[in-house]
């Protein structure tokens, strides 16, 4: 088992002597005061998971081949230290006796939002440090089962100014053999003083302005050997930094867009806006084997997955699948009926590729979750309707989850009642509901099968059994953006 070379990532990095561990972690987490972004490991409250978590805290499981550490990872923003970490079990005596302080490890210096592998077993974490020699990108892969850092690599981008923006976008191959790293390098150029109105006074004043110039580099981490290929610098200066990246088992698919300023677009009637392009890179390559234009919209945070067919798909405008052929880049668009409804507010949709090749799609803002089968022309094989939850547009994005067996859907309760509900995925029938007036903001299913609901007000974590009995509540002192 590899140990982390990074002193502050991974459960193995934490001290493990009871309460002191949590205090140290809290101190680290709050080192920068309120508003620090933190990744925190929290214990699951399921009986078996709690015992495993206790083992981790006492050093028994870290680095072992345990299938679960009984932990999950919270990503979010710390609040003031007055929000003490606390875990409270409410039903199971076993759970109550095992209750312990929550956060057991933390990192606070991530350079990008964590990315989970397609099977959710691994977590990719990026750190960027700037020095005179350039920008050093360090990428770590954490096993969610053990909490240990299993791969760690770094490379330097030389000769970039200290204020360069470095954005790392990892893409795991579905077979977990390779992680492709897309690194956007953005430099402030043409820094100058320009006149700008002060809207409060109406006076013009000189302010600093700059033009951002971006390009990309690629690197490939071989998960079997730990070796790194790259970085390969693409000849794409003038693109925008934001990209969408998807890895198949052998290639990287990359959506980018040219900056209209770099295209010297000037004002004219009916001049077409630039379209994105899709480039396909075999693993280990710095040159695309194929580049084709893509329909709008520009890349920027839309869900994208590799399909079991070897093709890739991105979900745009929260309702349309753009499917790209791995063979020749041909693109087709499919609009699954369950996602077709639209609302005045942005209505996020999620997409997850399942082991059986199906796609699990959700759009909580219109009260729909569905399974589609790409092998059968994206036929909708399950379609569940549920009442729209309160404020479905905000974070975390996970408002509906599918059980591991694929037979049960867990969703946030309606705007009227809050709570959680479960549905039979095959029939769409309501199975169970829990509501006591709390509007949760997100729902996740942990490896143990325990459901975790996040909330905006303390206690911000609520644990439920799969049949929606409340197991306990906790608060890690952070406002949760996502759970891994």
């Amino acid at each position: 088992m590899l140990r982390s070379k990074m002193p502050n990532i991974g459960i193995s990095a934490g001290k493990r002597d009871g309460n002191r561990e949590s205090q140290l972690s809290r101190r680290a987490m709050l080192a920068g005061g309120a508003g620090v972004v933190a990744l925190v490991a929290m214990p699951d409250l399921a009986p078996g998971a709690a015992q495993a978590a206790a083992a981790v805290r006492h050093g028994d499981a870290v680095g072992s081949s345990a299938t679960t550490s009984g932990h999950f990872f919270l990503y979010g923003v710390t609040d003031d230290p007055g929000h003490a970490t606390r875990v409270q079990a409410v039903q199971s005596p076993g759970v109550r006796s095992a209750a312990a302080p929550g956060a057991v490890s933390v990192t606070t210096n991530l350079a990008a939002t964590p990315v989970a592998s397609p099977d959710q077993s691994l977590l990719g974490l990026s750190v960027v440090t700037m020095a005179a020699a350039g920008a050093t990108v360090t990428f770590s892969v954490v096993s969610k089962a053990t909490g240990a850092v299993i791969r760690n690599t770094s490379f330097t981008i030389p000769g970039v100014p200290a204020d360069t923006g470095i954005l790392v976008t990892p893409a795991f191959s579905p077979d977990l053999s390779v992680v492709a790293l897309v690194v956007a390098i953005t430099v402030r150029t043409a820094v100058r003083m320009v006149p700008k109105l002060d809207p409060r006074s109406g006076a013009s004043q000189l302010v600093q302005a700059a033009t951002l110039r971006s390009r990309h580099a690629l690197a490939y981490l071989d998960m079997r050997t730990g070796s790194l290929a790259g970085p390969f610098y693409l000849a794409d200066e003038g693109t925008l930094a934001l990209s969408t990246a998807v890895a198949t088992d052998s290639e990287l698919f990359l959506w980018t867009t040219m900056d209209p300023q770099a295209l010297h677009m000037t004002k004219g009637y009916r001049r077409a806006a630039p379209l994105p392009g899709i480039s396909v890179f075999p693993f280990g390559a710095g040159k695309a084997r194929l580049t084709v234009p893509s329909p709008a919209p520009w890349p920027g945070g839309e869900p994208a997955v590799a399909l079991a067919t070897g093709d890739v798909a991105r979900l745009v405008n929260a309702r349309t699948l753009q499917v790209v052929s791995a063979r020749n880049g041909d693109l087709s668009e499919i609009s699954p009926a369950p996602l077709s409804a639209r609302r005045a507010k942005p209505t996020p949709a999620t997409m997850m590729a399942r082991a059986d090749g199906s796609l699990f799609l959700t759009k909580a803002g219109v009260g729909r979750a569905a399974l589609v089968d790409p092998a059968r022309g994206f036929k909708v094989t399950s379609d569940v309707r549920f009442p729209e939850p309160d404020k479905p547009s905000g974070g975390p994005v996970s408002k509906a989850v599918l059980s591991a067996a694929g037979d049960r859907l867990y969703v946030l309760g309606s705007a009227a009642t809050g709570g959680l509900s479960s549905y039979d995925m095959a029939t769409g029938a309501l199975i169970a509901s829990y509501a006591e007036g709390v509007h949760y903001t997100g729902v996740y299913q942990l490896a143990s099968g325990t459901l975790l609901a996040t909330g905006a007000r303390s206690p911000r974590l609520s644990y439920f059994s799969p049949d929606l009995n409340l197991l306990g509540t906790a608060d890690a002192g952070i406002s949760v953006a996502d759970v891994y």
């Binding site: 990503y75 939002t113 677009m265 920027g300 945070g301 929260a318 005045a344 547009s393 705007a415």
Partner: protein
């Protein structure tokens, strides 16, 4: 002085909005890339602008609502890259539509969308807001973009505390999503009562959301603060494209 915001193309919703509310809006607030849960203006800016003209409300304001988990990023680079794409999208729409003009006051408010349960960090805000503030239109050398925040000021996750931090890039205005009296009219909007932060002024109020207020058309209803005309801080159309 009320208008609409919508995640749909204007050309596809203005008729139903007119049927429901009976008058032309004063402005439209619309989404630009990267707003992955919305239809974005820059995908087809000409049709969108025609829709705004035909609606009788030929003003288009600019919203950016990235994936909400990104707003919680500790990385300035994530805010910067979102801001870069957003500014490029705004500029692309501007250059693609001849009659789409910058506000006569030279001030185009740009709204970062932070939903109620979303956390915002200082690093993200500064990366996004600095990029927006510093952006210069190559077409004319102007720097017309001003960073602002759409949020629910009393919501628990960090919002006002971030934009009012002493090291924060200036936030020029707040667009508040609360409270929601659900007044179903843009001809007779409610008396101004928007929630606010302690320092940054609230200039726009979303007083009726479609979902919470049971509106039929795919629009939310918005109004400007007293003595603030939201339309003056939007693109305007000098003719039908």
């Amino acid at each position: 002085m009320a208008g609409y915001d919508t995640a749909n193309e204007i050309q596809n919703v203005y008729s139903s909005a007119h049927s429901e509310f009976g008058v032309s809006p004063n402005f439209w607030l619309r989404y630009f890339t990267p707003s992955p849960a919305a239809d974005v203006v820059n995908s087809d800016p000409v049709s969108e602008s025609r829709g705004a003209w035909d609606s009788g409300g030929p003003r288009i304001g600019c919203i950016n609502e990235p994936s909400q988990s990104r707003l919680a990023s500790g990385s300035t680079a994530e805010g910067q890259s979102d801001g870069q794409s957003f500014c490029a999208a705004v500029y692309s729409a501007y250059t693609s539509v001849g009659p789409l003009q910058l506000p006569t006051n030279g001030t185009l408010y740009c709204w970062l969308g932070q939903e109620a349960s979303t956390s915002l960090t200082l690093n993200y805000w500064n990366g996004w807001a600095r990029t927006v503030h510093d952006y210069v239109f190559a077409e004319n050398g102007l720097s017309p973009l001003y960073p602002c925040l759409y949020c629910d000021p009393p919501a628990p996750p960090p919002n006002c505390t971030i934009i009012q931090d002493s090291s924060a890039v200036t936030c020029h205005a707040v667009w508040s999503s609360e409270p929601e009296p659900c007044t179903r009219s843009i001809a007779n909007p409610p008396t101004w009562n928007a929630d606010h932060c302690s320092v940054v002024p609230t200039k726009v109020w979303q007083y009726a959301e479609q979902g919470a207020c049971g509106l039929s058309a795919n629009v939310d209803l918005d109004m400007g603060a007293p003595n603030f005309n939201t339309a003056n801080y939007c693109f305007y159309l000098s003719s039908r494209p």
